[in-house]
Assembly symmetry: C2
Homo-oligomer: 338 residues x 2
DNA sequence: CATTGAAATGTTAGCGCTAACAAATGGATC
DNA sequence: GATCCATTTGTTAGCGCTAACATTTCAATG
């Protein structure tokens, strides 16, 4: 039952009584086909149930309608929301998404990039600004537009959309200090480059205020989780019992810190202030609700695709456009309000 | 700089001094090429940096190395963990994943299926057992193996791997009743077919124990979230103040219930027992840790791919194999232990 | 009414690979 | 050493589409 003969362009063409290329044009550049023919072709395509063969198209035109996306993790909520934005935006375009999971490894990223590039993608979305030299060169020379997402700096490969993790962390830390906390701590997991920039934001503001202390910093390369947040806080509070607030690398950790504080009967926000990063949905629902730095992940995915689609349409590679989506401090009850 | 001439099979062939088909064979069926030649070819491929052109391969062989995956949501943790399993398993195979997001719509599923099928995938992974008649027919006639994941029943389209949501819910509800709770409630969001089967498991066990009451059931079609869990519980407890435990459709809701209970100074597990479903990582870290039904999502993704790859290798379609991964009740402090 | 040129449609070739069949090679066997 | 057969390698054609160039059509113009 599976042997339905494929309906080809030629089938549609002979049905309409024109040549195959005309059908091809009606599909790709309809303005070059007369309106009445266009309509007739549309009808024939419908009746025959013709679906273009992407492989043949790709081979003939040496282009594809694939947008390659490289993200470090599929399970991290942050990236899955970006991904949702990407899928949403792609929905009404002819493009398809090809996802690659780099697992936070720039070697794996390089490999995936080579595979992706060999498929001649229409565009590429890559995460962050810390590509290896090789990857960067590959991307610079890519025959398609490239968007870097999640971060911004002054040296985009091509397009860029994101926000400053450093400034986000500065804002969070400044908030803690403004609220009267004087012995700020930092908890960080999966210290990838973005996390490290957040740490630097924390460190710089704390240092400027004369409140930085290394014993109040705990980090690990392990993957972030709520459980890990609880563990890190347990270690941190043993080591630095005078700690009066924690800025967490991300919301999972922050939630873990909250739970561990509750277990230890440490009052939040009275004895301990907690601030997360990303403002996942659950932060507002927690008890107490947790202060966090909101980032615009869905928008980032959506607009990354829009940037790409525009660039592809205009055939204008290497534009250097940088979009700063910013962030927002969401003050909630896990930090004191003076 | 982007105009590197593509390295083709022919280039490798002339370098080695054989014909193109031999290189092709060395790549796809190495056992049919003599060992020394194989080695020589491998070296040449390496030196020239040859990467096969998938489009050309697909066109010539009318097959692809793409495994299509249809899931209802990319942001739901449950599916993203399945996805991770899938990506992990696919890593050391020649296959690629093409992801489709059905957004819980069987119409969208049908559309995606048609698109996927027209690309002649090597295999398909679809979520659940509630495909539309059309989709089911398409899948039955598909020229490739198909795995249904997340659920099990006696009528697989081809392969199937999952567990019984109904039985999971029964186990959870029985646990609540065993622990002495007598006025069990149910909170459910996004009442998709799987959620409905969970509800039925709850209802049946509660009814059998003579403890079912409709006013203690609250459901919504809205997407599940922690915030929603808190809201649903708030409504539920107003409506049925005598409620003494809640079985939640999933862990997001359960966490929301816990937070809302804390806000209302309702003691967990003393005054209120809470049980979730899926056992996301955070359940064990919560304060108190939340009882849940553990499901094996990563394994499910991984083994779904393995089933598929085996079926593809054996060219044996429609096997009817059903794998029950089961589930496990994780008793924690959010439910009384007698 | 011949000329022009833009718009609409067609012809030819080939993208890079593999299916299907063909041929060569090299032992084992009588 | 002729015969057979399995193993290894090659030849030819074509998958379905589009690039590049060619041709036709037809309205506008002097």
């Amino acid at each position: 039952m599976s042997g339905f003969k494929r309906v080809t362009l030629a089938d549609v063409a002979s049905r309409v009584g024109v040549s195959a290329i005309t059908i091809s044009r009606a599909l790709r550049t309809p303005e070059k086909v007369s309106p009445q023919l266009r309509e007739e072709i549309a009808r024939a395509i419908d009746e025959l149930g013709y679906v273009p063969d992407r492989a043949a198209r790709a081979l003939a035109s040496s282009r594809t309608d694939v947008i390659g996306v490289l993200i470090p993790s599929v399970t991290n909520n942050v990236f899955s929301e970006v991904l949702l934005g990407i899928y949403t935006a792609v929905e009404n375009t002819p493009f398809d998404i090809q996802l690659g999971n780099t697992r936070y490894s720039s070697l794996k990223e390089e490999d995936l990039l080579k595979v992706f590039l060999s498929q001649k993608p229409a565009g590429l979305i890559v995460t962050g600004i810390d590509q290896s030299e090789t990857s960067r060169a590959l991307l610079k020379n890519a025959a398609c537009p490239v968007v870097q997402i999640m971060e911004i700096d002054e040296d985009p490969i091509d397009l860029m959309i994101g926000f400053s993790h450093y400034e986000g962390a500065r804002t969070a830390t400044a908030h803690l200090i403004e609220q009267g906390y004087r012995r700020p701590g930092f908890a960080g997991a999966r210290m990838d480059p973005r996390s490290q920039r957040r740490f630097r934001g924390f460190r710089d503001v704390a240092t400027e205020a004369g409140l930085y202390a290394e014993e109040r910093v705990i980090t690990t390369t392990a993957a972030s989780s709520v459980t890990l947040g609880a563990q890190l806080f347990a270690e941190l509070i043993e080591r630095a019992p005078d700690l009066d607030c924690v800025f967490c690398n991300n919301d999972d950790l922050a939630l873990g810190v909250l739970f561990e504080a509750q277990r230890r009967r440490i009052a939040v926000p009275g004895q301990l202030g907690i601030c997360g990063f990303n403002d996942l949905e659950m932060m507002a629902a927690a008890e107490p609700p947790i202060t966090s730095i909101r980032t615009f992940r869905h928008d980032m995915g959506r607009r990354a695709v829009e940037l790409l689609v525009d660039a592809i349409a205009q055939g204008r590679p290497r534009s250097g456009a940088v979009v700063d989506l910013g962030f927002e401090l969401r003050k909630r009850s896990s930090t004191r309000s003076r």
